[in-house]
């Protein structure tokens, strides 16, 4: 490489940093000028809907006082550094992304699967990295965090996995949705064998995910105090619907959970586990899958929800492609626009209006390379 050569990634990040830097020092007039400019760039790139790290949607958030944003990072699958540092670098990148957001999100959802094999060293490392986030963090548990010690270390670090809170007129619920019926005792498995079985997506030995009767009872109880007109946002690691059973892209008691959520007018489920851009709507419930920071998963061979616009195939020659983090903009009316910040690609936004219109309006940018 000659002196002064900058890779496309370096240039991208410098441009983005400069962009956000300018954003911090704007008066209203130059803000509008920049907004127009960035929309023009987006249009020139052939994007129909104005996209994220771009002023238009920030302006939207700033002007609708009742709305707010939260960011997400999910599915980092950390090994300890001595084993493999690739996934650590990815999580650090996501933390940098979120810390760079301006204005800062109200909080950051961590979507589960912080660890790869639920080991103390992995969970502790993850907890340490997440401490450098500027915004408060809301934790969710994934199966990779749980099945070595059945959540002992995770709870020591982060507390109980199931909880709810209210924020700016929205009721948030975080579920523990990766319970599995005991498949290990009868087989005489060690805790690590149990963990590794659950960690394998195509391992048919394990049971299917479920919220379980206790979790559902807790959810019912929690929601009994909430007005049916109050927007509800549910965080769940597993999808809370039935997508593809052989890979556990699946929640066994999804129908029962949906029945508990059905009476509410506006329900949004934000889930992890599937490592891909995933969109579903069942009744009044909108579902959004989160990106992973570690690796993308191919779309399942069947069961893909009709509303899902697939993310373009990922390039294995780039360690970051198909991965990323994201942001959820909750509108004044309590519905959510979900932004997929796919690394080194143009971001994709799946708008509430797209789901509410059952795909008739606000369609996200088209897929040019669908899965094989």
């Amino acid at each position: 490489m000659g002196r002064g050569h900058k890779s496309i990634e370096t240039r991208h990040h410098q441009e983005r940093d400069a962009f956000f830097d300018r954003l911090r020092h704007l008066d209203r007039r130059s803000f509008m000028r920049l907004a127009g400019l960035s929309a023009g760039i987006a249009a020139a790139k052939g994007l129909i809907v104005p996209q994220s790290f771009q002023l238009v949607s920030v302006a939207h958030g700033a002007e609708q006082r009742s709305g707010f944003s939260f960011a997400y990072i999910s599915d980092s699958h950390l090994y300890e550094q001595k084993v493999n540092d690739r996934f650590i670098r990815s999580l650090l990148r996501a933390v940098d992304d979120v810390n760079r957001l301006s204005p800062q999100p109200d909080f950051v959802l961590y979507g589960g699967d912080l660890a790869q094999l639920g080991q103390k060293g992995e969970l502790d490392l993850g907890a340490q990295i997440l401490k450098s986030l500027k915004a408060p963090v809301r934790m969710m548990v994934g199966e990779h965090d749980w099945f070595l010690d059945m959540g002992a270390r995770w709870r020591e670090l982060f507390g109980e996995p199931q909880y709810s809170f209210d924020h700016k007129g929205v009721h948030f619920v975080t579920l523990m949705s990766v319970n599995e019926k005991d498949f290990w005792t009868a087989r005489g498995m060690t805790p690590m064998e149990r963990m590794q079985t659950v960690a394998g997506l195509d391992n048919g030995v394990q049971s299917r995910f479920e919220v379980g009767p206790e979790g559902r009872a807790w959810l019912k109880q929690d929601l009994s105090r909430v007005d049916k007109k109050t927007p509800v946002i549910v965080f769940s690691h597993s999808p809370l619907y039935k997508y593809y059973r052989p890979w556990n892209f699946w929640t066994e008691d999804a129908d029962e959970v949906q029945a508990v959520l059905a009476p509410f007018e506006k329900v949004t489920v934000i889930h992890g586990h599937t490592h891909q851009l995933l969109t579903q709507r069942i009744g009044n419930i909108s579902f959004h899958g989160m990106l992973s920071t570690a690796w993308p998963w191919p779309y399942a061979p069947e069961g893909l929800p009709a509303l899902t616009v697939q993310m373009n195939r990922s390039d294995p020659f780039s360690a970051f492609d198909g991965c990323g983090d994201g942001r959820v903009d909750v509108n004044g009316n309590g519905l959510a626009d979900t932004l997929y910040n796919l690394w080194d690609r143009n971001p994709v936004t799946v708008r509430a209006a797209y789901l509410a219109s059952n795909g008739k309006s606000d369609r996200p940018a088209a897929t040019t390379l669908p899965s094989y």
Partner: protein, 247 residues
Amino acid sequence: MTLRTSALVAAAAASALLAGARALAADPPAHPPPTSASGDVMVGLCDGRTSLELKGVKDASQVTPEQARAVADLLMEDWKKKNPDARWDPSPAGAKVAQASQPARPGAKPPTASSGAAEVKKEQGANAQSGHTYGSFSERDQAIWRASTEQFVKEGHRVFHDAKAMGGTVAISCDMCHPDASNTHPETYPKYQVQLGRVALLRDMINWCIQNPVRGKPLADDDPRLRAMEAYIYAQRKGTPLEYGKH
């Protein structure tokens, strides 16, 4: 020996037994082994020269699978002595050749103690053509071939799911990104691999993954692990039309 050559040997043993049973039949043109003075069963190898007397055995259909295996091994040893320059692929570590203890398939006749030579002989009255390796074979032969293939695929499944087995150094196994070998699209190879700037085969991409995300050393073309992984990956795409060059 690889499983493929083992299957051929098993098939050779079966036809050898048939040759013995058929020694008295006039057709088709054959190289019958010499007859035994004591009326014992004689087994001839398909080279038409090597033969073996089964001492004390008068009925070929009473030969157990274990005896047949031993006979095949002896004949093979003999053949190898006569053909010292013949080359054989090394056997994959831990691989065993499928034997007759197959689970019964629904609707299939239960396997008999012998290779099914008697049944084939009965069917020879039917108006059907004969052939060489595939001239006359029983359901049991097919079960053996199928089991041997499945065993090869199973070995591939093992390597595919085991970071250490393929020489990985960072605890990454193939299934982490490719559950059920999804998104490996073997049917699209050979194709121009844009990132490599040349035409690639499936095995080139397996080795690319081993070198990069898995951070291991590429496997040689004849490495049993590479061969087994290819078998596993293709097996997952059964029924998918071949579309070489597809992007």
